[in-house]
Every structure is written in structure tokens, then in C-alpha cells.
Amino acid sequence: MAGARDRARRRELWAKALITGAAMAVLSSTFLLFAYLLWEVLPLLRPARLRPLETVAVKGSVFAFPGELPGSFWTLSQEGVVRVRPQGEAVRLPQVAPPLTAAIADRWARWLAVSDAEGIKVYRVSLRPSFVGQERQLKLRLSSPFVAAATEVKLLAVGGEATPLVLGVRGGVTYLWRAQGGSLEAVVLSSQEGHAAVVNEAGDRVWLASDRQLTVWDGGGGRLATAPLLAPATVVTLLLGDLTCLVGDRQGNVQAFGLFQGEGGNFLLEGFATFRGPGPVLGLAPSPRSKAFAVLRPGLVQVDYLTSGKVLAQHAVPEGARTGLAFAPRGERLLVTEESGGAHVLAADLGHPEATLGTLFGKVRYEGYRNTTWTWQSTGGSNAFEPKLSLVPLIFGSFKGAFYAMLFSAPLAFLAALYTSQFATARLRQWVKPVVELLAGVPSVVVGFVAALVLAPWLSAHLGAVLLALFVLPVTLLTAAWLCELRPRPWQLRLQERWERVLTLGLLLVGLGIVWLFAPGVERLLFPGGLLEFLHTRLGVSYDQRNALVTGFALGFAVLPVIFTLAEEALSNVPESLVNAALSLGASRARAAWTVVVPAAAPGLVAALLLGFGRAVGETMIVLMASGNAPVLSFSPFSGMRTMAACIAVELPEAAYGETLYRVLLLVALLLFAFTLVTNLLGQRIARGLRRRFGVAR
């Protein structure tokens, strides 16, 4: 007997543990939902960091550059020998005549120009990782040189695509050397002495900074545009993508310039950002991965980000480190060389510089744009593409879609709820509510499909008729209603209450018939060229087939049951005694509904709208299919939009795990979560307050 009781007690305990465990699992999974999204978003805030890795000896070399593999770099000695570290392979430059007096390379170290006893020699350098046995090693390849017999040249820049361009100063005059077969031919570029220069990757733009001005030339030596500088320039470089030129000067400014084509095809050189800092700028190095760049000042290396205008990170280096600032080909390391022969390697972890509060929500001037904009454009064709991650178009799109949805569904749902709760017979009510519940169950993909593939083409052909119907139907109904109640009496049409629904249906059909008959004629009369044509040419409104009107209609269709159900509940919960009081004072049933029930239930109606709005903002498939998904910032009902939800659905599967885009999209999800949470809680709170006021038990 005792055994049975023990068993029962044990079973009781087990059951309790199981049941409590389930409740805890629900609570914790909800918490996890929020916390995990937050956890994945938080790394966006991680600051960039520069960390010293090692110092390597490069004594006796005139040039050093980091390689693609971890810990690798290569140097060029005065004797013209290239050494690849760490494996220590040494290759002598072909046809070199030591000692070298100077050596420069382009930003990515694809071209190497040296000046030796015979003149200038330019080599194509290729340093790629390849497998040697089981080990990955850097493999060096050097082309035979392009040669120019010009000595005593101060080399400024080298670059180009298939053949090199070299800039240098001799005797106070700036020359441009272009390849002619295997040799280099000189052209006088400017009679002034250039301080710094850079050649773009395509080899058709040459940027030259002389004393107080920056000039752009095309590859053939034709001058394109000029802009003044704040102070004498020390360094010039181009950011990844070759759209922006950075000029560092002696006063410590780094100015960013963009080249734009003006109205008449002439070029304009515009400065659009300035980064200030202590001490003169000694070196500039663009990141090979993003729009970040490193700045070398006496005793200091900084990494700045062009788009946000921020200093991402900085790190102290010895005062003697004055040359050789360069990013490794994968952008994860920075190299800076000391004159005494030591090269400092810094680990550069740039974090997520594309996503800051400013770029996510503020207006930003992106590279290649002349104005600040809110733009969402997360992926592009090339490596140099800069992701534009403004959330404003997405948030705007979500609200626009929800707004048009409410415009359509709120009056409809509200009036339908009013009828169902106040005027309808009990039998009708019994029948309507389940039907609306079924409507709520219609999958959104079905609604979106019909909206996009059936409604959208139909609407673009019958826009005039639809707009006319929006006007004609209410007018028909109201006119008929007014006629029925017209006084003096003899003019009045009589109507029994039970015919009301049939009559309304008839009136609706009559209205639709009128629209059907007259719409083509009216449209021809008002807009001889067609309504769409009129919109386009006269009002400058372009009509997208998948637009906010279609989306609003479909979304409205989806949230209609939500609003209806809640509004109906709020209206039905108003105590009968209030209505009866109004009726006994002589009010008609409609008047009682309008002046007593609606005001009393107003908070509930607001809650219904709020919850409907929240649902519309979060809806995905309908918007994805019917809105066209273009992230534009236009409130026109005839243009599309891209909403937060649709954006996640489209882009998150493609976003690489842990990348900036992935985290930003999860931030969008988190925002969506927070927004719907707030609307839901608010809506429920209002509805609960109302229920309590009317003493309705849950």
C-alpha cells in the first residue's frame, strides 16, 4: 500500500517537473529568440583594432611589401635581389644594374619600378600562393623589364593595366613614361614639379599633386580637371575601386577627391571629405577589401573609413617608421618600415566599418555620389563595390506598405465589424465570424500570388475604372440611403429592414454596373491618351506594375480578418444597457451605434488598428511578390518599395555567415521584432483596459 502511494507521489513529482519544464522551455525559447538575435547583432559594435604582431629585419632593402599568406612578405635589396619571406627564396631582378637608388610599387605591388645606374626599369610582379608539396608557399614571377634610359629621376608613381605608366620628376619637370614595345617613352606632363602621384588600375587616369593643386590627366597626357589643395601634398593614393583620390599633406590633412563628369561632358574634381590629424602625412595605404585606408603620421598609424568619416583605430609606431605603409593583399595585416631597417607588422581587424549608426540611419554621401542619400544596395558586381546599408528605405518601405494596407482595410474592416456587431441578425453573425476566420487562414503566399500575377496586370489595365469605382460605389450607396430617408415624407422611399442586405447588394451591383459601363468613356473623356500616359507625362509619376496600391490591397486583404475580429469584439463588448439607454431616448439603432457604441469602444478599435498595422509591417510573402522590391524612397501609390521583411527573405540566404550584411539583416529582424512587440503589447494593453472597464471576463 505504501509502495503504491510512493509511486503515486513520485509520478506526481515527475509530472510537475515535466510540466514546469515545458513552461520554462517556452519562456526561455522566447528569451532566446530575442537574445540570440541581439547576440548576433552586437558584433557590429565591435571596434576596429590594430595590434602589433612582430617586427622583422629588412636591413639593406629599399622596399618591403606584405604577401598574401600569413606572416609572409617580400623585400627588395639595393643589389636588386627580391627575397620572399618566410621561405627565403631569392630572385635577382632581370637585367638590373645595381646599386638601386630608388624603388616604388603601385598600391597592390603589381608593378615595381626601380631606378638604377642605367635608368628606370619597370617589372610586372606576380606573387601568388601555390602548393609546394603539402605546404602553401608564395611563388614569385617577374617579367622582363620595360626600360627607360633616364637617370637622376625622382620616381613618383607607377601603375597601369597591361603596360606600365611611370611618373617621375627630373630637373623640376614632371614626366610621364609610357610603354612603347619593351621601352618607355617620356612625355612632359607638367612643367611644375610634382610632389606625389598615382595611376589608376586601368591605366587611363593619372592623378598628380604639385605644390598647391591636384590635377587629373588621362593616360595619353591630356589634362582633365584641377582642384586646389589646402597645403603642399606629400602623398597621393586611390581608394579601392579607383573612384576616390586621397591626398595627404604637410599639415596633416587627408583630403578625399572624386572625379565627376559634368553636364557638358567636362570633368569636375570635387573634394568631399577631409580627415585631420597630428603631424604631416607620411604615407597612405588603401585597404584591398573596403573603403578603409591607413594613414601614417610621425609615430602613429591610423585606419580611417571614408564613408563614415571615422577614425576606426590607431596605434603608435616608432618615430623612425616613415615609409613603406602597405596593407597585405587580404587586408588583415599592415606593414610599416623604419629607416633603421625594421619593418613593423600590425594585425588590422577593421570590424564592421560599413555599419555605423550614421550609415544605417543617416544620410550618407557614398563614393561616386554627389549628394548625401539614404540608399540600400547591399551587393554589387565587383570586388570594389561598397555596400550601401541604409535602413531608412527599408523602414520607409515597410511603413508605406502598411499604410496603404490600412488605408484599404481599416475602413472596410471597421464598417464590416460595425454591421456585424450592431445591425446584423444573430444568424448572420454566426455565419460571418467563421468565414472571416477562414479568411484569416488563407496562406499569404496565395494572396501574394494572386495579387502579383492576376491583380497587378489587371489593375494596370483598369486603373481608371478602379479609381472611378472608389468614387461611384460610396456615392451610389449614400444617395440611395439619403433618398430612403428624405423628408418631407412623400418623397421618401420606404424600405423594410430585412431587405436591407439584399438592397445593399443590389446597389453595389448597380454601382459596379455603372462603373463598368462608363469607365472607358470617362477615361477617354478626361485623359485622351490614357490614364497611365497622363500620369507619366503630365504629373511625372511613373507607374510600376507591382506597386504600393497592389501591395496595399493584398496586404489589406491579409490583415482585414485581424482588424475585423478585434474590432467586432470591442464593439460587441459594449454593454447592451448603454445602447438601450440611447434607444429609449429616441435614437435610431444606427445613431446609437455611431454616437454611443463607437466612442465607447474607441480604444478597442485603436488597438485593432495597431495590431493590424503591426501585422502588416511584418508580413513577408505578399510584399515579396507584389511590391517589386525596389528600395526606393517615394510615397507614390504607383511605385513599389522594399520592406524590411522582404529584404530579409531575399538577402539573408545569400549573406555569408558573420559578414556585415548578415549582421545588418539580423539587426533588421531585431528591429521588426521590437516594433511588433511594442505594437502588440500596446494593443493588448488597450484592449484589456477596455474589457476591464466594461467588466467583460476573459
Binding site: G441, E500, R501, L507, L624, I648, P653, A669, F673
Partner: protein
């Protein structure tokens, strides 16, 4: 005399407007259903083949799909489905009515549904089967043709099965290869020599043909039979031609398995939570938090669940499982990529509130007298719950389950992030051990609609398939909802009658 005083109504306008709003709302729903049903029915109903002769002498044979007003001049223009994509590149051709001289319905026109390149519309010149040549004018040709097609189809099935088996194994035996070759050889013996309306000739191997039908010879019953056949094929067959033709069986299967897995997860959790909220705990802070979390889950947009599913289930949980158990196949992910397990877990989270709310309502159905009676007889809390309360709550639990299934079957957005694909190479449940392949990607009805309707290269030709898929999904979901509704109403009525 009293001054003329016009009073306009203040009662009826509101009544009329609100009645109209209700009518419009209901009308929209029935309109939607009707539209989808019409589209699906029209798409599968056999359409006659019209032979149009144009003014310049060209002949066009095909089905008239759409007509719209001609932008050049007055009159109409037709969009004709002419098929023969291998010859002309496109399935459709626009014909202006003004150019058409003659319209006929030739009785000897045939439609060949093929495995590749869509339909072929044309005339049969002859059937060449194992050296024998049959003329289409000979009586009984249709029977001969369908017999031959059936034979070839069965050979093709065998050889496909064998080929798949050979492909799975690294080394195939000589015998199997020989048998495969002989099967393939046997299929090649049968060829249909066809001609298009314009007179172009085309040899079509019988193995390429799915169905051959002389459409214009069919009467109403014949057409109805074809209609039925098409629906049957649609439900039971694999998709063809990047989902624009053929059936939706894998999508139906994927959807069913998905909701099944989800139900296994969500029902126990939801029921236990509801029991906790209603039976076990009072109004404590913890209960309120649980209740709040249930309402929160109910309000969160489905895409957020999808994002969470991808970030947590797929990347974090899946990545960990891969590192622990499937390290040998890394970096190719096994569970670290979307799959049916993660998708159903995500959906389980999404539908949890539905089950909780419905179960709570069901639990409320157990009258206090009965509970007290049980306890008076010495039953513990668990025994009361197990033997008294839960039987009362059963209809509520079933309602919640069905509603959850209905909700999950129609949900697409979270699946797009957690493992749905347009074409799955294998079902997540098959005859190779361990039979359940929960890491596999799957197809889904709702995603099928999105994919075929929006991402397909040949959207127009795919229209019948999209509409039919939509109808299947709609009917499925509405029926489930209806079932839940009936169940709940019955339970409520029972409670009411007991109360009386």
C-alpha cells in the same frame, strides 16, 4: 405654411455603408477562391487545337490562351500557345486577329506532352515501331500508339531505376550495364514522325513522349477524362522542366513531412505549457512571464522566426552538430545548412501559441465539479489531470494541432531561410538507411508557388501549374481550418449543453 425643410438621413447611410463593407469583404474572399479555382480548372481543361491561317499564308497550330485589344488598329490579338519550343524557342506566339484568314479545328492534330521542351503540337505522319510503320489513318492507330507508348514508358521506368542504382554505386557489374544498354536500346526502336502546321518535320522518339492525345477528337467525356488524368498526374508525379510541368508530389510530400515533424515537436510542448498555465500555477510572476512570452511569440512576424532559425538552428546548432559528429565531411556542411529538421523546429516555435491557446480553451471545458469529484476520490493532481481533465480537453488539443498544421502548411517566409529548395534531388524519407534524412533539403507547396510563379524562366507556360498548386494549398489549408472550426464548435456546444 411651414418652410420647406429638407432632411437627409442619418440612419441608413451608416447601415448601408457598413453592410456594403461586409459584403465587399466577403465578396473578396469568395472572389479570391473562385479566381484560383477558375485558373486551376482552366489550366488543366483540355483546350481545342486551332489551326489559324494568316494572310501571308503561314499556318499556326495551337491553343488560344489570352486575348487582348490590339494596340495597332482595332480588334483583338490572341496569344497562342504553339509549343514546339525546341523548334521556335518560345512556347507562345501573338497573332493579330486582323491577319487571320481562316480558323479550323483539324481532327488529326495531336498534342504530345514531352519530357523535355514542353508540348509538341502538330500532325502525325507515321509511327515507326521496331521496323513496322503505322499510318495514322489506319483504324485503331490510336490504340496501337498508346500501347507502344505504354511499353516504352515501362522500359524507360526500368532503365531510369537501373541507371539511378548504377549511379549510386561506385562500380556497376557487367551484367547491370549490359541490361541497362539493352533497355535503352529497346526504347530507341519506337519513333513518331511528326510535322508542324508549317510543314517542318520532326522525329520524336517515343521515350520522349509522356502523353499523346488527338485533342480535337475528344468529346466532353473524353475531355473530362483527360482533365481527371491531368489532376491525378499533378498530385502523384514528379515535376518536369524545372517545375513548370508535371506534378507536385515531392512538394506535397515535403509539406506533409514538415508539418508532421513540427507537430511532434510542438504539441507536447504546447499542451504541457497550457496545462502549466491553467492547472498548475497560480498568478505568479513566472506564470505572467510565460503568458507574456506566448503572446509575444504569437505576434512576432514569421520572417523573424526564419532569421532566428537560420542564425541559431542552422548556423549555431547545426554547425556544432557538424563539428561533433560529421567532422569528416567538413567543410561541406551536413546539418550546418538548411534542412527539414531545422525548418520544422522553426515552425514549431512559430505555431506554439496556437496550440497553447487552443489547449487552454480545451482545459477550461473540464467542469470544476468533475475535478473536485476526482480529488474527493483520492486522485492526485496528476491523476486528475491525466484521467479527468485531459479527456475533456481532447477536442481543444486536436483543434490546436490542426490549426497549427494549417498555419505551418501555409507559411513560406521562414522556410526560405531554413532549407526549402525549388528542386530537391531526393525525398527526406526513402528506402536507404537511416530512412529519415532530417538534414536534407525539401520542397514545399507554398515555396513552389513562389518559385514557379516568380523565379521560373517560363512563367507564362507555367501558369496552369502555379494555379493548380495554389488551389491545392488553399483547399488544404481551408479544409484544415474548417475542420478545426467544426471541432471547436462541437466542443463548445457540448460544454454549453453540460452547463445547462
Amino acid at each position: 405654411m411651414k418652410p420647406f425643410h429638407l432632411v437627409v438621413g442619418e440612419d441608413l447611410p451608416k447601415r448601408f455603408l457598413s453592410a456594403a463593407a461586409l459584403l465587399v469583404a466577403l465578396g473578396l474572399m469568395f472572389g479570391l477562391t473562385f479566381l484560383v479555382a477558375w485558373g486551376a480548372g482552366w489550366g488543366f481543361w483540355p483546350k481545342p487545337l486551332e489551326l489559324l491561317t494568316l494572310a501571308d499564308g503561314t499556318k499556326v497550330l495551337g491553343e488560344l490562351w489570352d486575348r487582348e485589344s490590339d494596340p495597332v488598329g482595332t480588334g483583338l490579338r490572341w496569344r497562342v500557345k504553339v509549343g514546339n519550343r525546341d523548334l521556335w524557342g518560345s512556347d507562345f506566339r501573338v497573332v493579330r486577329q486582323a491577319e487571320v484568314v481562316k480558323v479550323e479545328r483539324p481532327t488529326d492534330a495531336w498534342v504530345l506532352e514531352r519530357w523535355e521542351y514542353g508540348n509538341f503540337y502538330g500532325f502525325v505522319l507515321s509511327l515507326d515501331a521496331d521496323g513496322q510503320v503505322f499510318d495514322p489513318k489506319t483504324p485503331g492507330f490510336q490504340a496501337i500508339l498508346s500501347r507502344k507508348l505504354r511499353e516504352v514508358a515501362s522500359l524507360k521506368r526500368q532503365s531510369d531505376k537501373l541507371a539511378a542504382k548504377v549511379a549510386r554505386k561506385a562500380q556497376a557489374s557487367e551484367e547491370e550495364l549490359a541490361r541497362l544498354a539493352s533497355l535503352q536500346q529497346a526504347q530507341e526502336g519506337c519513333t513518331l514522325l511528326m510535322t508542324t502546321a508549317g510543314g517542318e518535320r520532326k522525329d520524336i522518339p517515343c521515350a520522349q513522349v509522356v502523353h499523346a492525345r488527338p485533342m480535337n477528337r475528344l468529346g466532353f467525356w473524353g475531355k473530362l477524362a483527360v482533365f481527371g488524368e491531368r489532376w491525378l498526374e499533378f498530385i502523384t508525379a514528379e515535376p518536369r522542366e524545372s517545375n513548370t510541368e508535371g506534378g507536385i508530389f515531392p512538394a506535397l510530400f515535403g509539406t506533409s513531412l514538415l508539418v508532421l515533424l513540427m507537430t511532434v515537436g510542438v504539441v507536447p510542448l504546447g499542451v504541457l505549457t497550457a496545462v502549466y498555465l491553467r492547472e498548475y500555477a497560480g498568478d505568479t510572476r513566472f506564470t505572467r512571464a510565460v503568458r507574456l512570452s506566448v503572446t509575444t511569440l504569437a505576434g512576432v512576424p514569421s520572417i523573424v522566426f526564419g532569421a532566428f532559425g537560420l542564425a541559431f538552428f542552422v548556423y549555431t546548432l547545426g554547425g556544432t552538430v557538424d563539428k561533433l559528429f560529421f567532422a569528416s565531411s567538413l567543410p561541406t556542411p551536413t546539418f550546418g545548412t538548411g534542412g527539414i529538421l531545422w525548418a520544422s523546429a522553426t515552425l514549431a516555435l512559430l505555431t506554439l501559441p496556437v496550440v497553447v491557446v487552443a489547449t487552454e480553451e480545451g482545459l477550461a471545458a473540464a467542469p470544476v465539479e468533475v475535478r473536485e469529484g476526482a480529488q474527493a476520490l483520492g486522485a492526485t493532481r496528476w491523476e486528475t489531470l491525466r484521467y479527468v481533465v485531459l479527456p475533456y480537453a481532447k477536442p481543444g488539443i486536436y483543434t490546436g494541432m490542426i490549426l497549427a498544421v494549417a498555419r505551418a502548411a501555409g507559411e513560406v517566409a521562414p522556410l526560405m531561410l531554413t532549407g526549402v529548395v525549388k528542386l530537391a534531388p531526393a525525398l527526406p524519407l526513402d528506402s536507404s538507411p537511416p530512412f529519415f534524412h532530417l538534414e536534407r533539403k525539401f520542397m514545399h507547396l507554398g515555396f513552389h508557388i513562389y518559385d514557379v510563379g516568380f523565379q521560373s524562366p517560363n512563367v507564362e507556360a507555367a501558369r496552369p501549374v502555379v494555379f493548380a498548386t495554389t488551389l491545392v494549398l488553399l483547399v488544404l489549408v481551408v479544409l484544415l481550418n474548417l475542420l478545426a472550426l467544426i471541432l471547436r464548435n462541437r466542443a463548445r456546444n457540448r460544454v454549453m449543453s453540460q452547463a445547462l
